[in-house]
């Protein structure tokens, strides 16, 4: 590690491009040099206006429409929609599987990041590519791919098709990059002197990891976990072919929304969608909060 890196912790992370799925580095608003940020001029103000109109038309207004559609029937209608047995079962399954997958990702994602940063071996670049594949692979293809190995005619003799294990497997696949990509840059710039100091003071490897490394990684792990949870509860494409969407058994929240919509019940669809949206918002708020805390500390 060069001296400039050591002097300015955080530089390596900022230079590294954020991977798909890693929490985005925020512009540092606190650095107020005379060079900016500037106040809006007429031209940039117009640009901002155009951008906001497009962003609203594309994303904000439609998302507000979901909330409005939910509120049309009032609280009782909302409760009735989300507590309907089939919907409640779907939401419960989605949340429990998403939590389980997030737990797996916290452990495996950190481990993968550790090996990629601290270990050197031939073929490491292939692993880097493997980690990004779930992000770029079309979700329907992801389902097909998993079905090829873990389906009825898979070479391993394991058949998870149309079971709850299929939901778990599909979630695992699509959320693989998130924790890895958010932990990796933080681990890469971690000052190893502190670890060596701990070791020289007699700490065991496990103690060093638990007391020195883990606290430094915790915000990144949490951010990655939040993203992978959000992605898992909203997954649809990878499950279509794999889980069979069996009512009360392997049906997830997204499938319920689609079913309501196709049955001409947009209010119920919007109610379930609002639940998922609320979780997304909570996740984004968590990540923002964590990043602010880390920025303040740094």
């Amino acid at each position: 590690m060069s001296s400039t890196l050591a002097e300015r912790p955080g530089r390596a992370a900022r230079e590294r491009r954020p991977a798909p799925g890693a929490p985005p580095p925020r512009p540092r608003r606190t650095r107020r040099t005379p060079n900016g940020p500037y106040r809006l001029t007429a031209v940039s103000g117009l640009g901002l206006g155009v951008a906001l109109v497009w962003f609203s038309a594309l994303a904000l207004v439609p998302l507000v429409a979901v909330i409005v559609e939910t509120s049309v029937g009032g609280w009782p209608a909302f409760l009735a929609a989300v507590t309907q047995p089939q919907t409640a079962a779907a939401l419960t399954l989605t949340v429990t599987q998403a939590l389980a997958v997030t737990a797996v990702n916290v452990v495996m994602g950190t481990l993968v990041a550790w090996v990629l940063v601290r270990d050197r071996f031939p073929g490491k670049r292939v692993l880097e590519v493997l980690i990004d594949i779930p992000f770029a692979l079309p979700t329907i293809v992801a389902g097909l791919v998993l079905l090829a190995l873990y389906g009825p005619s898979g070479p391993l003799g394991i058949d998870v098709a149309n079971t709850r294990a299929a939901v778990f497997l599909a979630f695992c696949f699509v959320t693989l990059p998130f924790v890895v990509r958010s932990v990796q840059p933080v681990l890469a710039e971690l000052d190893r002197d502190v670890e060596e100091a701990a070791a020289s003071l007699g700490a065991t490897r496990l103690t060093t990891f638990r007391r020195v490394v883990l606290p430094a990684l915790a915000p990144a792990i949490t951010a990655g976990a939040a993203l992978s949870f959000a992605r898992a509860i909203s997954e649809y494409g990878a499950l279509v072919l794999l889980s069979g969407n069996l009512p009360m058994r392997t049906e997830v929240g997204s499938v319920r929304i689609l079913a309501y919509l196709e049955n001409g019940q947009p209010e119920q669809a919007a109610a379930v969608a609002s639940v998922l949206l609320l979780v997304s918002l909570l996740v984004i708020a968590t990540i923002q909060l964590l990043q602010r805390r880390v920025a303040r500390r740094g």
């Binding site: 512009p27 979901v66 692993l127 770029a136 060093t208 997204s254």
Partner: protein, 285 residues
């Protein structure tokens, strides 16, 4: 904290086995299944007009989305990094929202606004523009889902390069446009390339949101991913695997390109301008 050799080897083995079982092996099986009957499956698939149409539609949508999101992405990144305005923090947070919204919710939300009985849908249809169950809806849904990808790549680089060079250019009499074209654009070009490649991969593969808004009419609004689902369920697995293989190879090629570009950008062969830009920010901090 140098782990002992056996700990390191165990961890390495666990990671390799996990990734191979979860990603490597399954992905390679699609290639195997697609070529199970040699090239015959592909010939049969591409002789099908619906398949050709779906591939063309997917390509057309992806190109439109890349253009729209690149312009929007660069513009909003410049605004968010270089300017101060009320509500900036909120906008920043909202820009990430599309990544964690379920594709089905994206589709539903667009239907509620642009559908026949939606907020604007009726008026637009009277004006002769059908959005939902038509290609414009597919473009909207895909643009929504891919929205943050360019922004997330460009914002950190814009923040990093600072404004010194831009300021110098302006003080030497460059117009705003010249400054952008000669100074800013070259500095962010790699980030922009990553963003575009990721957007392209994502746009080619969007499924859930497109399924909701397109109506999935074969030969009219059926994209490649929707075709894969339909053909697989209709027991035309050869065609499904052939198209899936095609989509998978494009997305894997995108990822490999990004991985290569990323490691190149850190080597000494990095473009001279970016290096100088970095050096100047380093000096003033």
């Amino acid at each position: 904290m140098d782990s002992s050799p056996w700990v390191r080897r165990t961890l390495r083995a666990v990671v390799v086995v996990y990734l191979v079982l979860l990603v490597g092996w399954p992905v390679s099986l699609v290639a195997k299944n697609a070529f199970a009957d040699g090239l015959e499956t592909f010939q049969r698939a591409f002789a099908d007009p619906s398949v050709v149409f779906a591939l063309q539609l997917t390509a057309a949508v992806a190109v439109q989305v890349v253009v729209i999101n690149t312009i929007f992405g660069v513009g909003i990144s410049m605004l968010v990094v270089r300017y101060d305005f009320p509500g900036k923090a909120l906008l920043n947070a909202l820009l990430d929202l599309p990544l964690s919204v379920s594709p089905i919710v994206v589709g539903l939300s667009l239907i509620l606004v642009y559908g026949k009985n939606g907020w604007f849908g009726g008026a637009l249809e009277d004006a002769g523009l059908q959005v939902i169950f038509a290609p414009p809806g597919i473009v909207l849904a895909t643009a929504f889902v891919c929205l943050p990808l360019v922004v997330r790549e460009v914002v950190p680089v814009l923040t990093e390069i600072g404004t010194d060079e831009e300021l110098a250019a302006t003080s030497l009499g460059a117009t705003r446009f010249q400054t952008f074209r000669r100074i800013t654009l070259p500095a962010i070009r790699w980030a922009l390339v990553y963003g575009v490649v990721l957007t392209l991969a994502r746009a080619l593969g969007e499924f859930g949101a497109v399924k909701v808004v397109s109506g999935n009419f074969e030969g009219r609004t059926q994209t490649s991913t929707l075709l894969v689902e339909q053909r697989y369920q209709d027991f035309e697995q050869g065609t499904a695997y052939a198209v899936a293989f095609l989509l998978a190879s494009v997305s894997v090629a995108c990822i490999v390109a990004v991985t290569l570009l990323r490691s190149d950008a850190h080597s000494p062969a990095r473009p001279a301008r970016a290096r100088r830009a970095r050096a100047s920010t380093k000096a003033d901090s």
